[in-house]
Amino acid sequence: MQFNPCIKHKLIRNSARHFAETELAPIAAEIDQQRRFPRDVIAKMRALNYFGLQVPKEYGGAALDSISTAIVVEEISRVCAAVGLCVTVHNGVAVYPFLQFANPSQKEIYLPQMASGKMIGAFSLTEANAGSDAGSVETTAVKNGSHYILNGTKIFVTNGGVCDVALIFALTSSPDNKLQSSVFIVESKFPGFLRGELEDLCGMRANPVSSLFFEDCPVPAANLLGKQGDGMKIGLSTLDNGRIGVAAQALGIAQGAMEAAVKYAKERQQFKKPIASQQTIQNYIADMATEIMAARLLLYRACELKDAGGPFGCEASMAKLYCSTIASKVTSLAVQIHGGYGYSKEYDVERYFRDAKVTEIYEGTSEIQRMVIARAILSQSMM
């Protein structure tokens, strides 16, 4: 069991941190306010493999291990969670299913373009009536010769406003006329692929979250991911992986908020001394630091299990549940330590506070994570 980071993980952290602090820190507050997707910075990230973190070298990726990937998402989110979200959704739930379920020709066509960031990916399961209840998808895909014709509406699609390719969950019918969930690789240039207005959200505002509409959108049959009816299998496996990414993102937000709070507590004078000398503030900081450390260990353990090739869904859910819970708590304390200034847009903690909340909601709510964890524990006969 190795608890100290190896040189490689240290360098990957330094590298991502340096990039985030140089390129994103100066604009993070501004793009949040303007709801602007920073295309210029994204262009720089492409050449540095941010969009092919775990893609094998032969497809132009960086072939990183899962801890390295978590570290990258953590460091970007520590400075700008909205861009961290773009990176983790692209890598964690758009690219990952290609690596797991795509056939060689699909990999050949899409992986190089996705790994280079030429194509930005999205993952689209959620609908107005299908959130936690992923089985209630209403979008349909009807086979018509060499194509499937898609009709339906997806909502809250992360990267929706900019994605070039999206994995769309839709209902197909089996030969015996049963409805089954299937996944399609849909390019934004296909006719009938329409984007809605960008959502005006509480946090992660620089990420172009939108609805996607499919109006008689023809998708080549060759773009069916896996087999017809594989939807649930692909969805659950992908969400397991996505949860590691959201956990990393939540952890990065918490880390950023704590660092801001520590800095402020040392500078802010009240009663003629820094507020960091007050025991109450020290207790807050001690709790924040302890919970962040525990969250990090839980997350890296899930990553290690994933790379070992065994099941990691329960641990990914634990990491996602815990990291997002402490992210909300830590960012709230960071605002508290900043007092009135923390409630102002003058300081970053206000943004961290807004950004943290959604990590408890998307990629499976905390309630769903508890359900997944409890099911795993209760199904173990040993217990």
């Binding site: 040189i7 360098l11 330094n14 590298s15 540095l48 092919g52 973190l53 990726g61 960086a62």
Partner: protein, 275 residues
């Protein structure tokens, strides 16, 4: 193919480190390490030469085992081979000893190198001595504080800014150049490059014995400088406020300070008091 050696150094990541008041040394344990900024620009300069006309780049450093980090980083940026000189007997080397050891390593590992690049100075000690001293050890021409280099054939043309003059110098290979902070903004290492730096590129670790360095020749070539005392410079300023009517305030000021002012300007000044 050009053969380039870049000598780099790991320095503490923060500029103001806590001192150990008792021993007069830096508490290096409190800071993470990073590649010295000017050294990183030297690596960038080498990479630009490599991109333009092809070159094999060897990066070399002397330091503790953790100094491997800066070598891996340089490999990730695009250097080809790393050499870490790591030996407890070499700890505490001053610039003279360091250049002697680096020269021995270059003679052993890259005897046919055309160009040696160093950072002009380091952010932790700022002596700017190792580069030029290394050139002396290797008996090759050197140019320090270089902001741009061009190569044509065996000729190296360098441009540098000294005393507010920009001068261009030419020299033949083999030569040593130290790179300033003016240009060569270092590139970000890609993640694929970082992965490659660990999985596909060579890094050798050399001990003093591999370089033929013994306690005897270290005695002769070892550190000549002794650090007697290290202290934090303190500046103390006292402000005095003179109040009252302007004429009186000026007179009071001159009464108190005309001696000092006279000493500074080199002639005595007289004051007339208002009656």
């Amino acid at each position: 193919m050009l053969n380039i050696v870049v000598c780099i150094k790991q320095v503490p990541m923060v500029t103001e480190l806590p001192w150990d008041e008792k021993t007069g040394t830096l508490r290096r344990d409190l800071a993470a390490g990073m590649m010295n900024p000017a050294c990183k620009r030297a690596v960038e300069a080498a990479l630009q030469v490599k991109e333009k006309q092809g070159a094999v780049i060897t990066v070399m450093t002397m330091g503790p085992p953790a100094a491997e980090e800066v070598l891996r980083e340089a490999l990730a940026m695009g250097a080809d081979r790393g050499i870490l000189i790591c030996d407890r007997t070499l700890a505490g080397s001053d610039t003279y000893a360091t250049s002697y050891i680096l020269a021995a390593a270059i003679q052993k590992e890259a005897p046919d190198c055309h160009l040696i690049l160093c950072g002009a100075y380091t952010s932790d000690s700022e002596t700017a001595q190792v580069g030029p001293q290394l050139a002396e050890e290797l008996k090759m021409p050197a140019a320090a504080y270089v902001e741009n280099l061009e190569i044509s054939g065996r000729l190296l043309r360098v441009r540098r800014l000294v005393d507010n003059f920009r001068e261009t110098l030419e020299m033949e290979f083999p030569a040593l150049v130290t790179i300033s902070m003016e240009r060569y903004e270092p590139r970000y290492a890609s993640f694929a490059g970082l992965n490659q730096a660990f999985n596909e590129k060579n890094m050798a670790i050399l001990k003093a014995k591999h370089l033929g360095i013994t306690s005897e020749n270290l005695h002769q070539h070892g550190s000549r400088t002794k650090v007697r005392k290290v202290f934090v410079r303190k500046t103390q300023k006292e402000n005095e406020l003179i109040t009252g009517a302007a004429a009186n305030a000026v007179c009071e000021f001159l009464d108190k300070y005309q001696g000092k002012i006279s000493a500074v300007i080199g002639k005595s000044i007289e004051t007339k008091k208002q009656t």
